[in-house]
């Protein structure tokens, strides 16, 4: 079927965001948006995880309790 892409052995398809050996194209998609890469390359790309890190904001909840009359010795 023209709207199904099946990667050859040792390869996966990717559109830069998603990796899979079988792609069943939706009506808005095209085979031109997908290309084959090796499984090893796909693993490397997927292992690059850059989660964001945030600092806890303590002031909000301390202030909230202090508004209720709870006091703390620092």
């Amino acid at each position: 079927m023209a709207n199904v892409l099946t990667a050859k052995e040792g390869y996966v398809y990717t559109n830069g965001e998603t990796f899979s050996t079988v792609i069943r194209l939706g009506i808005n998609d095209s085979a031109d948006n997908w290309h084959e890469i090796t499984e090893a390359e796909a693993e490397r790309l997927q292992s690059e995880e850059t989660p964001t890190e945030s600092e806890a904001t303590e002031a909000d909840y301390i202030n909230a309790l202090e508004e209720l009359g709870v006091s703390f010795d620092e």
Partner: protein
């Protein structure tokens, strides 16, 4: 001052029942609860009123996975105003089940359950109608079985490739959750997730590309 220290101080002042009441009343004032339970060591988070909270990024999430030890959340989080839930439960490795939380105004679902490797069940359906960021939302959720979505609310690409334990009901709910889209969006499933050609056909017609999954006969699908 960490939340653990804060709780210790409050417990010195009043008994536990009062603490929980004070906490619930106080938490209604909170708008940003980033990192609030990051270091929490209980089996479940204290009953918290998120009624005015707009940001729950990293609520329990921790980059190292050594922080929040919760195993379940047995009440529905009233996070109706929250637009940000980035990494809200990141690496909560003990988390097994939850009732769920209100996502009606959620925009950022990035990494919500990143590496919640024991999470099996989320009881209440998610409304993803305003969500625009689903990067790593379910990455490494290898034990996830039960999840539901409000019908036709998923509008951007979403990835369940790590979720190899999804029930048939969950898979159907995911397909039902797909909205009709006008640009190419992709639903990614685990390679071994059983799906029907009919499910793929409906999704394709709505504009969704389906990556992964294994098409089986109805006989095999329903056993």
């Amino acid at each position: 001052m960490s939340l653990v220290t804060l709780k210790t101080k409050v417990e010195q002042l009043i008994d536990l029942a009062e603490w929980e009441k004070v906490w619930y009343e106080a938490s209604a004032n909170l708008k940003n609860v980033e990192g609030l339970f990051r270091a929490y060591k209980g089996v479940t988070i204290p009953r918290t009123n998120f009624i005015n909270t707009t940001t729950i990024n990293n609520l329990c999430g921790d980059n190292n996975g050594d922080g929040c030890t919760i195993e379940y959340i047995d009440y529905y989080l009233n996070t109706s105003k929250a637009s940000q839930a980035g990494y809200v439960f990141r690496m909560c490795r003990n988390l097994k089940w939850m009732v769920g939380f209100n996502t009606a105004n959620l925009v950022n679902a990035m990494g919500m359950f990143f590496s919640c490797s024991r999470l099996e069940t989320i009881q209440e359906p998610f409304d993803f109608s305003k969500v625009t960021n689903t990067n790593n939302t379910f990455s490494n959720c290898t034990a996830l079985k039960d999840i539901k979505f409000v019908s036709e609310t998923i509008k951007v690409s979403i990835n369940f490739s790590y979720c190899k334990m999804l029930t048939l009901e969950s898979v159907q709910s995911i397909f039902d959750g797909l909205a009709t889209v006008t640009t190419a969006q992709t639903l990614t499933l685990n390679a071994n997730t059983k799906i029907l050609q009919s499910q793929v056909d409906v999704a394709n017609a709505k504009g969704w590309t389906i990556a992964g999954g294994t098409i089986v006969s109805e006989e095999e699908y329903y056993g």
